[in-house]
Amino acid sequence: MSTRLATGGRLLKTDKPLSFTFNGKHLRGYEGDTLASALLANDQMLMGRSFKYHRPRSVVASGAEEPNALVNLGSEGRFEPNQRATVTELFEGLEATSQNHWPSLEFDVGAINRHLSRFLPAGFYYKMFMYPRSFWKHIYEPFIRHSAGLGKAPKARDADTYEHFYAFCDVLIVGGGVAGLEAARTAGRSGARVILVEQTEHWGGRAPVDGGSIDGGSVEDHIARTLAELEGMENVTLRLRTMGAGVYDHGYALAYERLTDHQPDAKGPRHRLWRIRAGHIITATGAIERPLSFAGNDIPGVMLASALRDYVVNYGVSIGDRTVVVTNNDNAYLTAITLKKAGLDVPVILDARVLPEDIGLVEQAKALGIRVLMGHGISSVKGGKRVTGVAICAQAGEGAVLEEIACDAVAMSGGWSPVVHLWSHCGGKLRWDTDHGCFSPDLDSPPKGADGMGFVTPAGAASGMFALDDVLHDAHAAADGVVTSLDFKLPRDVEAPKAERREESPMMPVWMMPHGASVKLREKAWLDFQNDVKVSDVRLAAQEGFVSVEHAKRYTTLGMATDQGKLSNINGLATLAGALDADIPAVGTTTFRPPYTPISLASIAGEARAETFQPLRRTPLHDWHEANGAIWEPVGQWRRPYAFKRGLESTHDAVMREVKNVRENLGLLDASTLGKIIVKGPDAGKFLDMMYTNMMSTLKVGKCRYGLMCSENGFLIDDGVVARIDEDTWLCHTTTGGAESIHAHMEEWLQTEWWDWKVYVANVTEQYAQIAVVGPNARTALERLGGMDVSKEALGFMEWADGELGGFKVRIYRISFSGELSYEIAVDASHGAAFWNALLAVGNDLGVMPYGTEALHILRAEKGFIMIGDETDGTVIPQDLGLNWAISKKKDDYLGKRAQERSHMTEPTRWKLVGLETTDGSTLPDGAYAVGEGTNDNGQRNMIGRVTSTYHSPNLDRGIAMGLVLNGPDRMGEVLTFPGTNGKEYTAKIVDPVFYDKEGEKQNV
């Protein structure tokens, strides 16, 4: 059984016990434990089930690369699935549950898949769920959806907050092992701004576990010394629990800091995503040990040799009493020696190599009395939910069992792979290192930055250096080179620390154990533990023609698990290469993509959630609207009142009331969102003649004119009233959505095409609260406020004037979007609310009511006024809308003119704007299509028009609509058929689009 040793662990605070639960069971651990080490200390080997066969799964690693020990953490607003127990720090009250099993972890029905594994080979899903086609929707898809996924998605709203932080530095160093620390020390001493991030909660990486000596002292002393020096450097920032997640273009990197995962009750954000821009990035990301491929290598109790060592040294946890070590390299001997020294039994070391036994670690192990079998390996592991023994064979053969040895743990080591992910994220190339059987960064092909130079340098084990002295030397040299390239200088006395060298024998690549393993053994040799991909699956994929590594990956799902192939990648590639009889470098590797390990989606969102999900734009009258029953309508980022509900009335009733009231009494509209752009200069008239389809240069000072704007494609993009302020100055109103885009459009033409024209533009949209005072009583209301003359004579229709009203400094435009007597009044925004209240006060007995955007729409539709976005959709030209009167015939040029001469634009068959009146008074469905004779090639009825705006008009008490119809203006009086989506067919007569006050008398009074 796995248990806690009396010796304690390097990272453990045994005076600080903690309690936690796993599947509801109360367990104890210590501060310093990971969830994995604490579970193991409680003999909880079984932690989950694999994805496909629901095989029992226990911890295989001790760090970020863990593929198996995935658990649910927390509950309610802090529930999170698929968390790796190996990197989860234990805290008081931690709640964990296992996942991917039913009904229980110990007894899982899905494990039946294991017995069907012969029938579930690679590509099974692709082959199985093809036919019959009709099965897809009701049988296959629900089945796949039910069985897909590991943990359950959280249901409650996230209880935590998250943030970003923008940091800039000369050198970012990822990885706080001895290499990262040395690189930081070196870079720091040059005076460069340095950020050093480490994903775990400890500095030093795994060097302290592996031992040795640096500068004559212990590794731990060296780490403490280096850290003390770094902490004294003002130019160096050190962050634990911060993972270098990704490297991107031009020196951009993301680092993921976990602030409160280990102390959920602490104040502040849970995660912080560092958005770092670095002059250079040093990846000191270390290396990951590879499993060996032998039958039964997935049985709980089989573990990476380094992990087994970590659990003993760091956490005082033994995985078993008798551990068989199986290896192809020297490093795993450290595990055997460590176990032996901890008083545990190591019955045998199986070394696939054949080597002299009197040097280095082999000799040391033998001196401790450990039996070493050279040229041997494991034929198969015995056991179900737990290792019970191993069958030994010759590595060279087909797996004939030579001997069986009882044991309860197996420590395996297939060699080490540098963590090249961050090097590769942005295009760094790899080379095959034959000596170590791994891919290492190809220093001649680094990822390149804005200046075309490499901006990432690997250091230490991440660059393929495995001996401690090499690691330190390499890290020092890397940092030295980097700071020099950034024009920093190292003080003269800075040298790399020296580490004691161990005598080491070379490793021997072993991709299958035994080398000639039979099909039966290969079917039980796991490559990807989480996704249940075995050696036999990869070989099958190769056989079936998936010879590209990227195809084989997707076909088998190798490396597609949450660990993204950290353990399985190289073994899988080698297996594929073997099956294809090709070299590993020729097969190549799959693409490494960020993030290095999963990061929370919420950290990516940062502050963009809840109230601050996106900016909402509020007018100066927003608070009044909110307090007075406004139903909000999003218009871009603006919130505009759709209608103001009174008492218990429905929204529809509110709209009807508002529309009638404007026609009969007095309405107030918050028009502040409409764009207001000042255009000034000697060439402003000429410029506006280019911007608008009609002539603006001839507009008289004091007058207003409705104008249309088109893109160079000829399509209508915006409309609004233009006022001429003085000889040199115009004020252009745009639509609500157009303020920023039209301002940018104007600036674009001025800066990039007509830069010699003397025109300045300013967007003053938000300077003003603009209120439309509309209805027969509008003039009376303004006269009651007192001040400037607003009579027909002093301020005629389509005129504007500056002045004072009720003590407010105002600009009044006599323009109308409703067909009523209407004044649009601009007042400085800081006085907007006060002015609105003043209008309400004087209008009290004049029947004043605010109205919203829906009433605005109905009022304009009754008058046949078009609305950008309703009558236009980016394919409509003004000519389609009968707006030829607003297109100047005199001008040689305006934006869109040439396009409007293109053959498609002058086609007589373009659909044109008409009014539509239902024959029974009902309201046409929005967007409905009119159908004509015959059908198209797809057997659908031919379409001859569509509804662009449709409303119930309370003034006419019937449905009114506008639409674009084939030859519409020539077909007045014809009745069209509009099938609805509700099975009903609507019929409507083509009429003039102006439904109300056709002569326009009301607005002119």
Binding site: L616, R618, Y760, Q767, S830
Partner: protein, 191 residues
Amino acid sequence: MSEPVTALMGAEDKVGIATITEGGPLGMITLRGDLSDKALKKAAVAAGGVTMPEQGHCNNEGEKGIAWMSPDELLIMCPYVEVHDRLADLQAKLAKGHALAVNVSDARATFLVTGPRAREVMGKLSPVDLHPDRFQPGMFRRTRLAQIPAAFWMPEEETFQIVCFRSVARYAFDVLKVAAQPGSEVGYFTS
């Protein structure tokens, strides 16, 4: 005329790692023109009450100030009550040349972020290097504050003054508040 009302009526948040305060009404004039023109410079200096700033800088004395917005644009600041007079004066002085001066006082909201951790709060929202070696009082930066355009400068060490559009004042205040939430110290510029 009524008393001018700012977008958030002087909202304030003091519980976090820096204090967030909405500024009171401030006179602001956008001036566009040829910044090398002597007459324009003279008029701008008269309106702003401070000397002309360098590119990327801002000169301030209390409520008076001039910020360099772009190669042909300045933002002139003054007490709110004086803005109409100052604008009229400026326009009169520039009437002969080609320039544009408009009142934008009410189109903006201003905020102060103060405290030893003001740099950290700003660094959570704006993609700008705010290291004390790189961003100092006197400098002026137009950038984005989370998802909105904004400009800021440091009237003094430990204080940022921010200008953004009035319509997004609530959003600006809310993101600043989130960025300054208690317990969110970064320890990057100061440990």
